[in-house]
């Protein structure tokens, strides 16, 4: 029966850890990786009988121990903020990124895009070496030949006098490379490069420069009592996301002094969903709100233009006027974005917020020297006229990230010779004549100065995956071939150049590398570039269409550069929960009126074109607005990036006064297209039906020690009141005596455990978990006896999730994907091959087969009528490690059982796949391997070479037909225990944590030993807001949630 199976699995077995050389992948010559011991990243379910080779090193590398990780501090280059990361490298491969705790920007946290840098490093679609276009086709060539061509072209361009009109576009980055590049260009008589970041908000940067003198000030939320965000998605894609999120979460966690957040804008972004109040103004009318707040416009007048009721605006106005310290942030990408930002900044200045809540002196430098997109549009015009003899592009992808109406791609075709330094195929490199692929940022040297006075270092964490070369080294090599420049480039490579400039030289660099940061300054110029002539755009009200069109940057894919990373495609958008798909978001009431059901195809038509895509009813939309996210719909990129559509194809070109692209600048005609496409989402019901999964408490109630009323738990409250469950903490009359942390019970069933939290957090011995119903005389067996010599039962691993901090950004999800070898399943080839009943990207997700061990549930409370007055609850849901786990007793083979230290263990190799455990799991946190996602020979293989190099060797890659789930990163627990044993000491409190907790940019997740008072988690679990999800099921979970704290409007009961 299974011979076929076994044999195919057998051949597949050693793949990830024991490298089988395959063409195109460059390997460290000396690192013919060994396959001993830790070769656990392989497919379970077979005993390999075939002859396996043990390949030793030829020469043993210094300092590394096989099977032991080395950690390198470096800098993340996924966005402009430049967070510090620590790369864990095992046997020569970087397998995990974590935030650098010493880094001033991200302080140890890391967002989803940062985690996914690894999938850029190991992207299967990367250029494997230099290529040159011959007869219209890109062909692989050697580096010598490619460099020869490059040098020759440079020489030709100069000799023909075209140097002055040569253009170099670089993906925006800070640090010394831009200066190096400009010097190099100057050496060839070429103008300074264009530093381009399509994801940055240029209007805000320009306004900040004008108002505050810096590009991006630090936002001190702790000092503010009222934060007004006017389309500024500061928790996500607006500016330096990670530090802003850290600061915001810290501010909100200090309940007494926490700021209230009001979000103004046509679409509730992630920040909007975290806001306490949403003012759903019409697109383009934000300026009226700012003017109202500034007292230049009455609330009634503002109501006219914004479409928001006057009473709401007047109350808002009063609240703002009354607030002691405030912060007004503007964003949203409107055509008048620059004016709105300037007005908002002026408001901050007039209210004395600058220096108090907005701190320009502590600002982030990563946004300096950025070229406005208008410059690229102007460049397109110059290219069209044939004035550009040579175009060089590194990293950036203007052919995709500029609206199609800017005509960049078409204009590029008129440039005689285009050089791309891109690591990946994209729309721009597809047009290039010569491709000199750059190293990934984790493979090369570099530096940056993210905040004044701190240098953040970038160093290679591993040898290059492919036959690529750092562009800086290529430039040096090209300069050496040029007689005119050679003299100025005596250094061997960029690293030498860097050392020569580094404070302290080589010794200074060596000293700084372990922490990845050094104090000092590179002294780079931070002056603003002059704003180019801007093309005036028509006001949005004058464009034609039945709805306003809002184009917004996707939280993960950004301007499209994340599109070929399967994690980022698969992890649901934190707001819409859409994966692998581009949808037109509309308010449910509007969609109902227009007759659009979820998934109905509509045509969105603007003056620049039309796009047909499915409708998503999203309550966070202003009623007259349709929104489409960017980032998907690549025509020439990797295999994963083909999913979805690109709204920039239909966005008419419009610029704000700072030269930024106006993403909200036009109306569109939305009409039914006929047809239907199922929505690829992980959302089942967006309402929690009063089940108390995500509970909340109003700030006033919390401070007064009252339980408060929570619609999220109302039905359960009803039951509790009738005494049938009687275990709901949030609804019972509290006495304030939080002896064990929770609120008092209204009633107790006989036999219930006497307190709410600790039974589940104590050692999970059989008798304990049964509370008073257990037999008092029963003896705990073996390891479960706390006095057993192994001492295992002395620990109880547990976790708290503070919903007052959690913003729902899904960084934890990506960290979990990275740590636990979780396969992505949404690619269109990952479904059944014979008569598949669903096809296309996300086909497996349409059957809810996503594998994320931790997911963020997003429930709405209120606003059933499509109104703006709804609250959002984000609940990270992972295995709750129940003390009384329903999944365990139903497993027929002990594949899941309770370990003495409180883990709900899943033994993958024992699992036969009855899936009964998942049926019986109330939290639905068990995931089944429907296909052989870990078997290289299968179409469903989730880690095509070299993505599998990223697999964590400490975690088994699950085979076909087995159940998997979160086990609190048991490999990290074992690693910490091994380390402690090796050092002959007990575990230290908070010595290690899980991947999700480590990455969390809002510090919402705390992990530790709940049986030991010295661990933070024990203190957190005692919080008055603590509750267990579905506590009435007596599962005694080890995950304690702390209620979200809502901030209702001070005047009335509205708000939340």
């Amino acid at each position: 029966m299974s011979t076929e199976q076994e044999s195919s699995a057998r051949t597949a077995a050693p793949a990830p850890a024991v490298g089988v050389p395959s063409p195109g992948v460059k390997r460290r010559e000396f690192l013919k990786v060994l396959g001993v011991g830790t070769a656990a990243t392989t497919i379970l379910g077979c005993t390999s009988e075939k002859v396996e080779k043990l390949i030793p090193y030829l020469v043993s590398p210094d300092q590394t121990v096989p099977g032991v990780s080395t950690y390198y501090a470096t800098t993340c280059r996924e966005c402009s903020a430049a967070c510090g990361v620590i790369a864990e490298t095992r046997d020569g491969r970087t397998i995990k990124l974590e935030g650098n705790p010493d880094h001033p920007v991200n302080r140890g946290a890391l967002c989803a895009r940062g985690q996914a840098a690894l999938q850029g490093l190991y992207n299967p679609d990367r250029y494997r070496g230099p290529m040159v276009r011959r007869n219209g086709q890109l062909q692989s060539v050697g580096w010598d030949e490619a460099l020869q061509i490059f040098a020759q072209k440079l020489g030709e361009t100069r000799s023909r006098g075209g140097a002055a009109s040569t253009v170099f576009i670089n993906q925006h980055e800070s640090g010394s490379f831009p200066g190096f590049l400009d010097t190099w260009l100057a050496g060839f008589g070429m103008p300074a490069h264009l530093s381009y970041d399509a994801g940055a908000d240029h209007a805000v940067i320009a306004a900040n420069r004008q108002s505050y003198g810096v590009a991006w000030p630090r936002l001190d939320f702790r000092a503010a009592r009222l934060v007004v965000s006017i389309g500024a998605d500061f928790l996500d894609s607006w500016g330096a996301m990670v530090p802003q999120q850290l600061d915001f979460a810290d501010a909100r966690a200090d309940h007494e002094n926490s700021p209230r957040l009001i979000y103004v804008g046509p679409r509730r972004s992630l920040t909007g969903l975290n806001a306490d109040q949403w003012i759903d103004c019409r697109p383009g009318s934000e300026i009226s709100i700012v003017r109202m707040l500034a007292g230049q416009l009455s609330g009634d007048a503002a109501a006219q233009t914004t479409g928001v009721s006057a009473s709401v605006l007047n109350a808002f106005s009063r609240e703002f006027a009354a607030s002691t310290s405030s912060m007004v942030l503007a964003g949203g990408g409107g055509a008048d974005g620059f004016d709105v930002a300037l007005a908002a900044n002026a408001l901050n200045q007039s209210r004395g917020s600058v220096g108090l809540t907005i701190k320009p002196n502590e600002g982030y430098l990563g946004f300096d020297r950025m070229a406005a997109p208008a410059e690229l549009r102007a460049l397109a015009e110059r290219m069209n006229s044939g004035g550009i003899p040579l175009l060089m592009v590194r990293g950036a992808n203007p052919a995709f990230t500029l609206p199609k109406s800017a005509g960049f791609a078409a204009a590029m075709a008129k440039v005689p010779f285009k050089v791309s330094f891109s690591s990946y195929p994209d729309e721009t490199s597809e047009l290039a004549d010569l491709i000199l692929p750059d190293h990934h940022s984790l493979e090369q040297w570099g530096d940056t100065e993210p905040v004044r006075g701190t240098i953040s270092l970038q160093q290679p964490t591993m040898d290059p995956v492919f036959d690529t070369r750092a562009t800086s080294d290529v430039l040096i090599a090209a300069a050496k071939k040029d007689p005119g420049s050679a003299a100025r480039y005596p250094m061997a490579d960029y690293r030498s150049w860097l050392i020569s400039r580094f404070p302290g030289g080589a010794a200074g660099l060596a000293a700084a590398l372990p922490r990845g940061i050094a104090s000092g300054s590179l002294g780079e110029s931070t002056t603003a570039r002059p704003v180019p002539p801007v093309r005036a755009s028509t006001p949005i009200e004058q464009s034609s269409g039945n709805m306003y069109l809002v184009v917004y940057p996707h939280p993960f894919l950004g301007d499209g550069r994340g599109a070929n990373k399967p994690w980022l495609q698969e992890i649901p958008d934190p707001v819409t929960k859409i994966c692998w798909q581009t949808v037109a978001e509309m308010n449910p009431a509007t969609a109902e009126k227009m007759g659009f059901a979820n998934g109905d195809l509509v045509t969105v038509q603007t003056s620049a074109g039309s796009l047909t895509l499915p409708v998503l009813r999203y309550p966070g939309m202003q009623r007259d607005t349709v929104a489409i996210g960017t980032g998907r719909g690549h025509a020439h990129s990797g295999r994963y990036a083909k999913a979805g559509f690109n709204p920039l194809e239909i966005l008419p070109l419009a610029e704000d006064r700072a030269g930024g692209i106006a993403f909200v600048s036009t109306k569109a005609n939305v009409s039914k297209a006929g047809g239907y496409a199922q929505i690829v989402t992980t959302e089942g019901s967006a309402r929690q039906h009063g089940r108390g999964i995500g509970q909340a408490i109003a700030l006033v109630d919390l401070l007064a020690g009252r339980p408060g009323h929570d619609t999220g738990a109302s039905d359960i409250a009803e039951v509790a009141a009738t005494g049938l469950f009687g275990r709901e903490g949030g609804t019972n009359p509290g006495t304030g005596e939080h002896t064990e942390g929770g609120a008092e019970h209204a009633e107790e069933m006989p036999g219930d455990a006497p307190h709410q939290f600790l039974p589940g957090l104590r050692s999970p011995v059989a008798n304990d978990a049964q509370g008073e119903q257990g037999d008092p005389n029963s003896k705990d067996k073996g390891m479960y006896d706390p006095n057993h010599w192994s001492g295992m039962a002395k620990r109880r691993w547990a976790m708290t999730v503070d919903l007052a901090r959690c913003t729902g950004c899904a960084a934890c999800v990506s960290a979990c994907y990275a740590e636990n070898n979780i396969p992505t399943v949404g690619a269109d080839w990952q479904v059944g091959k014979v008569l598949p009943d669903r096809t296309g990207f996300g086909a497996n997700l349409l059957r809810s087969r996503e594998m994320a061990w931790i997911r963020i549930e997003r429930y709405y409370e209120g606003g059933e009528d499509g109104g703006a007055d709804f609250d959002t609850r984000f609940i990270p849901m992972m295995c709750q490690q129940c003390g009384n786990a329903p999944c365990e007793p139903v497993c027929p083979v002990y594949a899941t059982y309770h370990s003495p230290d409180g883990l709900n263990v899943q033994v993958y190799n024992r699992c036969v796949g009855t899936r009964y455990c998942s049926n019986n799991c109330p939290y639905k946190v068990r995931y089944f391997n429907w296909f052989g996602y870990g078997e290289p020979a299968r179409p469903q293989y989730a880690f095509p070479e070299p993505l599998h190099w990223q697999l964590n060797p400490d975690v088994t890659v699950r085979g076909k037909g087995v159940m998997e789930k979160c086990t609190f990163c048991v490999q990290r627990i074992r690693e910490a225990e091994n380390r402690a044993t090796a050092e002959k000491r007990p575990l230290k409190p908070d010595e290690f944590t899980t991947a999700c907790a480590a990455g969390c940019p809002s510090r919402a997740i705390v992990f530790g030993d709940a049986a030991d008072e010295n661990w933070t988690v024990t203190q957190m679990a005692k919080d008055a807001r603590a509750y267990h999800v579905f506590e009435e099921l007596n599962t005694f979970t080890a995950v304690v949630y702390l209620k979200k704290v809502t901030h209702p409007a001070p005047a009335g009961p509205g708000g939340a």
Partner: protein, 181 residues
């Protein structure tokens, strides 16, 4: 064969087959115990360990600090064998083979003998640091002319030690997630 014995033959065979299956399952016959492949270079543990008294950790340098015991790089071998050429003709041939690999800049493709299933995490350092000798699992490797798999390496064999039934007795945790995760 008379009629009666013919009638008994069928159930008899079934019984014997069942018994054999059960015995083989229990004896660990399904493991590759005793496997002793011929290696590309006939490395003599007898000479290195027994005669020269080299410490195991000289070559298997990570056994006390990693999951992975470490395999000596060819460079490590050549550290001595650029000087030591062997005395016996048979050994000389083998050392020349080694040198040939070194000169070709190729690692020696050793054939793996001790292999735990893929889904088992076996931390060498925990065992070595707890005082479990190499010989406990790998047998009297210092006397093996050609290395063979001395133990069955199946799960019951592991468990026996973990629950303290070995000689000398060791004790270690024995819940599943100790090794399987």
């Amino acid at each position: 064969m008379n009629l009666r014995s013919r009638w008994l033959a069928v159930p008899g065979f079934v019984c014997i087959a069942a018994l054999a299956t059960m015995l083989s399952a229990y004896s660990g016959a399904s493991s590759s115990e005793g496997n002793s492949p011929v290696q590309p270079v006939a490395f003599r543990h007898t000479v290195h360990v027994d005669t020269l008294k080299m410490n195991c950790l000289y070559c298997h340098f990570a056994a006390n600090k990693s999951f992975d015991p470490g395999l000596p790089a060819v460079g490590t071998c050549m550290g001595c064998h650029t000087v030591v050429a062997g005395t016996l003709p048979a050994n000389k041939v083998e050392i020349q083979k080694l040198a040939a690999f070194w000169n070709k800049k190729e690692p020696v493709p050793w054939i793996r003998i001790h292999k735990l299933p893929e889904y088992v995490h076996f931390p060498h350092m925990r065992h070595v640091n707890a005082g479990v000798t190499c010989q406990t699992c790998h047998g009297q490797i210092q006397t093996m002319k050609q290395v063979y798999q001395a133990s069955s390496l199946n799960m019951g064999w592991c468990i026996n030690c973990h629950i303290g039934q070995s000689n000398p007795p060791f004790k270690a945790r024995y819940d599943c997630s100790t090794c399987h995760y």
